[in-house]
Subunit: 443 residues, 2 copies
């Protein structure tokens, strides 16, 4: 496909090219345009029919959009904005430099400009900031037939026509889906068939909560109201999916101890990558000096029995891994609303029993292996007992910290793998050398 | 809300209760029913109007569904199955014991039974296994008005009516959305307004790929065809979101070195939790014996300079953390299709430059701290040089392994944090003691 497009472009067979382009889905077209240089891109873009061009435009990343806008005539820019839904325009504006933004705002009509400014005014993570104003409003006194013909008249410019909102004095009083309308009799009234138990969100609600609610209820759109319950917009399901995906990426970043970043891997510069990683590494490095200091304190012990040193990596590793197994599961459970703060003691009790089983199994395997390798029963027992203590501690700390973070209104994912590992490193060494000095009478 | 329901239930005010229940969204009703015992639950369930009852049923987890089915009369079971879409019935069946399954299949009508059996026959992770057969089919020769009235006639039993599929000799030749139909003129033909460049998937395609495509194209439904391009079903967006969420949870599990598990944290028994965690811990524990053995090899070195031991935790920690920072970002990038196998060398080059900046900063901070604490320039330099080597190695290994895994058709997430950490532990010790023995002339 791509080869054909490029060949037609080189041979300047523009008529054929135009036909070929119309067979491609806008999402794929946007990807295809990435591989062209700016001049070719503008040329190809201008070959697209108006609606396909606007759809393709909304699938592009912001760099490509900016490049095209710089090449657009004022009229072309106006045409794109006319065809683009306001929420997509706002997304675009948030990534553009000031001169492009003012050109966009100049080109938009007055109503759109007002809506853009209003949406830009909502806090960054609020429902208001991701909503669109293009929805279908109905009155409760319309007949079903009239409602359907109203949709047919105004539907073209609305992002979703499938859920229509019934308002009275601008307040949201109900909703009907197009399915409800189509399956009702022509002479029924909208007010009689509408759903009146409407689930809605407020402009200032957190956008992640809104997205989670939409996923819970399987909604395609969620109405957004202001403080006086007046309908001001809707959030559509494609934006909700984006929010959920961004949130997951953020959780992954925190698990990896990297400062979250909205851009993709390759879009982020080397310097920015380095900056986003160096902070946590410094924290972890300096806190690791604590476990180093603890180790120096036991210098006499490992000078007397050097073999003790060779089990340090294993015991520290097991402690950290046990902790991160539990904390990751708990963090994910919290994110999916399967685990709540009130489950604190349930989790501790559950993790304690899991840790007992796991630690006994690991201690037996490991004790046997050391006994068979070194034929030193005391050392084998020291390592086995340390293993039990470290695993139990790891599981309990890993279960508790994310919930404590959540109850302090901190992000549980901050308590992720690397931080827990560092805490457990120090504890593991204390447990290990505590048991060792005691059993080997080294103190 | 919940308190009121329980009070009405206790006071046996069933009429009032029934009214109250109808105000609740089915997803919330399912959660509310969780808190009742089986007898009350059946009582409350029987108060619900038929359609609300079926909707609520589809939001319940499988244990609750099984309990209710056991209390149902045959007629009640048949009513629920009539109202439930085939894909939801299949989801349900997959979790039920054999006797409940055969009761369900006995109660379903012949056509539904056949469809259930067909869907159950598709491989577990295929598009066929999550599709539904309830979609609207149209002919290209219908007028728009006739198409709309056909939808109004058959729409009630279809999961989505908003995308209608145009078939000829059972082959999929196009699609129209209800929006297209509503915005067209009554006397236009479906064949003239339909979209003919249809993106479709095959029954055996991987369900995760299907979900990702739907999210890429912002589709609400994706048509599924068999090997002869005959339309056999559609995948709806609610199922696609579930697939994406399950995949993410699976990636989290792998990052935590826990065997993936489809049930939630509390639904999984202590024994099952222990089993799913112990495998990886054993592997990690035994592979950590390698780093232990390497350490014993350098026994003479740390007996001569015991201070060397206290930097082991920090250097091992930094190596592991650097590796997991990079591997997590790369794994996430691969999952989101932002990174591909062909980017191998681009990633190595990028990570190398990031590692240079990061390692220099860490080495300077750490070298200074050690120099100020211990006033031993050689030791400070040993640790600083080791830091540079370990950070660079960590970033490169963390960047390469997930991509190598992917190109070997293994799951990149298997190369996650704990495995990389273990590999890097050994390498870090080798680098550290290699540099130390050389610079301190201990060999």
């Amino acid at each position: 496909m791509k080869e054909k497009i490029i060949r037609l472009l080189e041979e300047k067979k523009l008529g054929e090219l135009r036909e070929e382009l119309q067979r491609i889905n806008p999402a794929d077209l946007a990807i295809l345009l990435e591989d062209l240089d700016e001049k070719e891109r503008l040329l190809v873009y201008r070959l697209l029919p108006k609606e396909l061009a606007a759809d393709t435009f909304s699938f592009m990343d912001s760099d490509m959009q900016e490049g095209l806008i710089n090449g657009f005539t004022d009229r072309e820019l106006r045409e794109v904005l006319d065809q683009t839904f306001v929420d997509d325009t706002v997304d675009m504006i948030e990534e553009m430099p000031a001169n492009v933004i003012s050109r966009i705002l100049r080109s938009a009509d007055a109503e759109t400009r007002e809506a853009i400014n209003q949406i830009l005014n909502y806090p960054k993570d609020s429902a208001g900031s991701i909503m669109t104003i293009e929805y279908v409003k109905l009155s409760r006194y319309l007949s079903v037939a009239d409602a359907i013909s109203r949709i047919r008249r105004v539907g073209m410019d609305k992002e979703t026509i499938y859920t229509c909102y019934v308002t009275e004095y601008r307040k949201l009083i109900g909703l009907v889906t197009v399915k409800d309308l189509l399956l009702a009799e022509d002479d029924q009234l909208v007010g009689d068939i509408m759903e009146t138990n409407v689930i809605m969100v407020h402009t200032h609600d957190d956008k992640e909560d809104v997205a989670k609610q939409m996923s819970k209820y399987d909604f395609m759109a969620m109405p957004v109201v202001d403080d006086e319950n007046r309908l001001v917009g809707i959030v559509t399901f494609d934006d909700a999916i984006d929010v959920l995906q961004d949130e997951t990426t953020e959780d992954f970043s925190k698990l990896a101890a990297v400062a979250p970043n909205e851009d993709s891997y390759f879009k982020t510069s080397v310097l920015k990558h380095a900056r986003s990683r160096i902070g946590w590494l410094l924290v972890l490095m300096l806190s690791a000096t604590v476990s180093g200091a603890v180790l120096s304190y036991y210098e006499a012990a490992f000078q007397a029995v050097p073999l003790l040193v060779s089990f340090i990596p294993m015991l520290m590793g097991i402690g950290g891994n046990c902790g991160s197994q539990t904390s990751t599961l708990v963090i994910r459970g919290l994110a999916l609303d399967e685990i709540h703060i009130r489950d604190f003691f349930r989790i501790i009790w559950k993790e304690f029993r899991i840790a007992l089983i796991v630690s006994l199994a690991l201690a037996v395997v490991n004790g046997l292996r050391i006994q068979l390798t070194y034929h030193d029963l005391t050392i084998s027992l020291v390592v086995a007992f340390s293993m039990i203590g470290i695993v139990i501690l790891g599981k309990l700390v890993g279960g508790m910290l994310p919930i404590i973070a959540k109850s302090l209104k901190l992000d549980p994912a901050l308590m992720a793998t690397p931080l827990i590992t560092t805490i457990l490193d120090t504890c593991s060494i204390l447990i290990y050398f505590g048991i060792a000095t005691h059993m080997l009478s080294l103190a």
